[in-house]
Symmetry: C2
C-alpha cells in the first residue's frame, strides 16, 4: 500500500497517456498487438448475443475474447465502444450476406421467396437469436448511437427488398393493390414476429406455416 499516487507518479501517468495517444500510429512501434481484433470482436458478439448488453459483464467478455481487460481498453475502448463495434460488425456482415445472395437471383419474386426462406432457416437452425432485434428492444429506445446503427441496418434491408418487390410488380410476378413500400415493411416486420414466436413456442411447423402463408399472400 505504498504511496504510488504521489504528484510525481500522477504526472508521469498523464505524460505517458498523452504520449500514447499521439504515437499510436507513429513510425516507431515497439510491439504489435498480439490478439486478432476481428476474432475478438466475433467472440464478444457471441456473448452479447447470448446475454444482452446489460447482462454481459466485462469479465464474461474478456474471458470469451481471451484477452486481458487492459488490452481491451487500450485497443478497442470501453464496454459501449466494444458493443458498437460488435453491432457494426454484425450489421455489415448481414449486408454482405444479403448482397451476396442478390448475385444469384433468377427472378425478383424468387429472390423475395428465397429471402423469406433464409429468414426461416436462421430462426430454426441458428441458436443465437437475431442480435439486431434483441438490441432494438433492449437499447434502441434509450441509446441514440445504437439506434442510428440499427436504423441504418433496417433501412438497408428495406431498400434491398423494396427493389426486388418493385421489380416483381413491374414484371407482374406480384399483382398487389398495396404499394411496394408497405409490402416491404410488412414482410420485414413479420420476420421479427417469427423470431419472438420461436423463442416462446419452439415450434418449427408454426414458423414454416406462417412463412408459407406469407409467400402465398404476396405472390397471390
Amino acid at each position: 500500500m505504498a504511496g504510488w499516487l504521489t504528484f510525481q507518479s500522477k504526472y508521469d501517468i498523464n505524460l505517458k497517456h498523452t504520449f500514447q495517444i499521439y504515437t499510436t500510429f507513429a513510425d516507431i512501434m515497439a510491439r504489435n498487438v498480439e490478439f486478432d481484433e476481428d476474432r475478438a470482436i466475433q467472440k464478444a458478439m457471441e456473448v452479447f448475443w447470448r446475454k444482452g448488453y446489460g447482462g454481459a459483464s466485462m469479465r464474461d467478455l474478456t474471458d470469451a475474447m481471451q484477452i486481458n481487460a487492459s488490452s481491451l481498453y487500450n485497443t478497442i475502448g470501453d464496454k459501449h465502444q466494444l458493443f458498437i463495434k460488435c453491432i457494426t460488425n454484425y450489421v455489415h456482415t448481414r449486408m454482405e450476406e444479403t448482397l451476396a445472395h442478390s448475385s444469384k437471383i433468377k427472378s425478383p419474386i424468387k429472390a423475395v421467396i428465397g429471402l423469406i426462406n433464409d429468414c426461416v432457416n436462421t430462426i430454426l437452425y441458428s441458436d443465437n437469436h437475431c442480435l439486431a432485434i434483441k438490441t432494438t428492444f433492449e437499447l434502441a429506445s434509450t441509446d441514440p448511437d445504437i439506434k442510428v446503427l440499427l436504423k441504418q441496418d433496417s433501412d438497408f434491408t428495406h431498400g434491398f427488398l423494396l427493389k426486388l418487390i418493385q421489380q416483381a410488380i413491374e414484371l407482374k410476378e406480384i399483382t398487389s393493390d398495396t404499394d411496394a413500400e408497405t409490402l416491404t415493411s410488412f414482410i420485414l416486420s413479420a420476420f421479427t414476429g417469427w423470431h419472438e414466436s420461436y423463442i416462446i413456442h419452439h415450434d418449427p411447423v408454426r414458423i414454416k406455416k406462417m412463412a408459407k402463408y406469407l409467400i402465398t399472400q404476396i405472390s397471390q
Copy 2:
C-alpha cells in the same frame, strides 16, 4: 463497530426469520403493511418497462415504489420475485382487457379488426413498449420461470383470437385457404414486428398502412 454478529444475535435473527415465515398469515397481526402493494407493483412495472430487467436497479425500483428496500424484501421478496409479480400483473391485466373487449362484439371479423386497431393504437399512443415482447427478447431464452409466464400469456391471446377467427370462417366472413391456427399466429406475430418498426422508425403512417394491408388480406 460493536460485535453484533455474536452467536446470540445470530441465533435471534434466525429465530425471527423462521418465525416470520410461519406467522405471515397468523391470527395475531401486530401491524399491517403500510404501502399499497398493487400500486407499488404498478410503479415497479413502469420502471421495468422503461429500463428492462437488467437495466433497472433496486434503487430505481424502491424510489419509484416509494418504499424502503427492507419493506420490499419483507413483503414481495427479491428483484426476481418482484419482476415475476410485475409480469404476472401485466399479463393478467392484458387478459382482462381482452375479455372486456369480447363482451361488446358485433361480429367475429369486426372483433378481429378491432383487435388489430387496438394494437396499432397501443404502439402509437402508449409511450411504453409492450413489456411482454421486451421481456421475451431479454429473458425468455435464459429464464424458465419468465418463459412459462410469457407462454401462458401468448397461449391465452392465441386461444382468444383463434376462436374469433374460427367463428369468422364459419360465418364465411373470412374465406381463407389457410387454417385458423396459422392465421392466428400470423396476425399476432405481425404485432411484434410493428412494435419493432415503430421503435426504429417512429413512423405512424407505416404502422397504419401495415395494419390496413393485414386487414384487407385476412378479410379478402
